[in-house]
Symmetry: C2
Subunit: 210 residues, 2 copies
DNA sequence: AGCCATTTTAAACATGCGTTTCAATTTAAT
DNA sequence: ATTAAATTGAAACGCATGTTTAAAATGGCT
């Protein structure tokens, strides 16, 4: 017997797909409820507001990703010698694990993350920092361990450059893959992009300071 | 005698400041015309539509930047041996030159570029490619010259990672500088960020492929 | 000065948005 | 079966948006 899909779940699923494709602000509750085949008012009934819905969509992924990432980072930091590449490789398994919460979880989540940052929505940043700030601490510590020659402020900036390249690549991913396919005849799956990305990021972080 | 500032210029100036701070979609014509101290309808009178205004704002910078960048790249390509760092350094002078069109031109332009990409607006991408596509060709050629070991498709992706890190860093620049100042007590001017960025980008592009 | 094209103004228009309301319906417990 | 609570439904509210309209004002030219 198939488990009945609740209205709340139908809303979350439709919302995340639309958010990942068009961004948060540019997706209306009417689009979401039409796709989910539920009543418009049910969003406010079940979530209270659009802002709360956005948070709920993100939370579904963050609550899976962050503990897994923390575990990887703690294990890595126990080792003696670690490289930048090691640190970024810590993201692979937790990201892949998002496939369990949703079929295209990794891709969806990174797109959502991209839009969350592009539209600077304070409530999302605050939510992330309040709930998972300690994971970011671990990440910074691991990166410092891998690159003790870099000052904390240097590392701070490079980490955000990393984030920028990642989320941007993800958000414009569909368009870019289309162009790449047209220009190079090479079709690149969304999952393969991270294989191209990680060497780039590690090379950037490892570069000697100016 | 001071030259009179036309309505058209007042609109462009107010629009670019608001666009650079809040993005295109999130800036209303009413905000723009209020800041510019002109009538609401004058935007549609002088530019025809909001889309056309956005293009006009970007064009003011692109028409200065692109020819200068092309010149730098052509000069660089004439040399025998060039590095990735050389290629990115080609952006320094043309970007700095934007200070002549407007006081904080370089910062403003990069913010605008960031929002233009974040909000995937086809009409801007098409405009850029139609008018300045040959400059992009030069950039790709110079990067290939500096990194002949990288395949074209590898270079394609890395160049977009570069773009992603740049525009993202610029868009979230104000917020990030604020955090950096609070956490490290170090105030970083917008212009200094590019000095932190370029080594990162060159390191990423130069990294050996996976 | 008088005229005509250009520009500015105030108001309204049409549309889409998030949210709220309240009655109808379904669900679950007694 | 009855009752109370939870959920769904259709409609409206209030507001903000880009755009259009048509009258008023302005500026240059003969």
């Amino acid at each position: 017997m198939a488990k009945r899909v609740t209205t709340k779940e139908k809303i979350l699923n439709a919302a995340e797909a639309l958010f990942a494709e068009h961004g948060f602000e540019q997706t209306s509750l009417r689009q979401i409820t039409a796709d989910a085949d539920v009543n418009l008012a049910s969003v406010n009934y079940h979530f209270g507001s659009k802002k709360a819905l956005i948070q709920a969509v993100m939370a579904r992924y963050l609550e899976v990703l962050m503990p897994a990432l923390e575990q990887e980072l703690v294990a890595l930091q126990a080792r003696n010698k670690i490289s930048t590449r090691d640190v970024f490789d810590c993201f692979r398994k937790p990201l892949a694990q998002l496939r369990e919460v949703r079929k295209h979880g990794p891709t969806l989540f990174l797109s959502l993350l991209g839009f969350a940052y592009a539209e600077i929505q304070g409530h999302l940043r605050r939510y992330t920092m309040d709930h998972f700030g300690h994971v970011i601490e671990h990440l910074l510590a691991a990166l410092h361990q891998a690159n003790p020659q870099l000052s904390p402020v240097d590392m701070f900036w490079r980490l955000h450059f990393v984030l920028g390249a990642t989320v941007f690549a993800q958000v414009s991913g569909p368009a870019l893959r289309e162009i790449a396919a047209a220009d190079f005849g090479e079709t690149i799956a969304a999952d393969q992009m991270i294989d191209r990305l990680i060497p780039f990021l590690a090379g950037g972080v490892d570069a000697s300071a100016a």
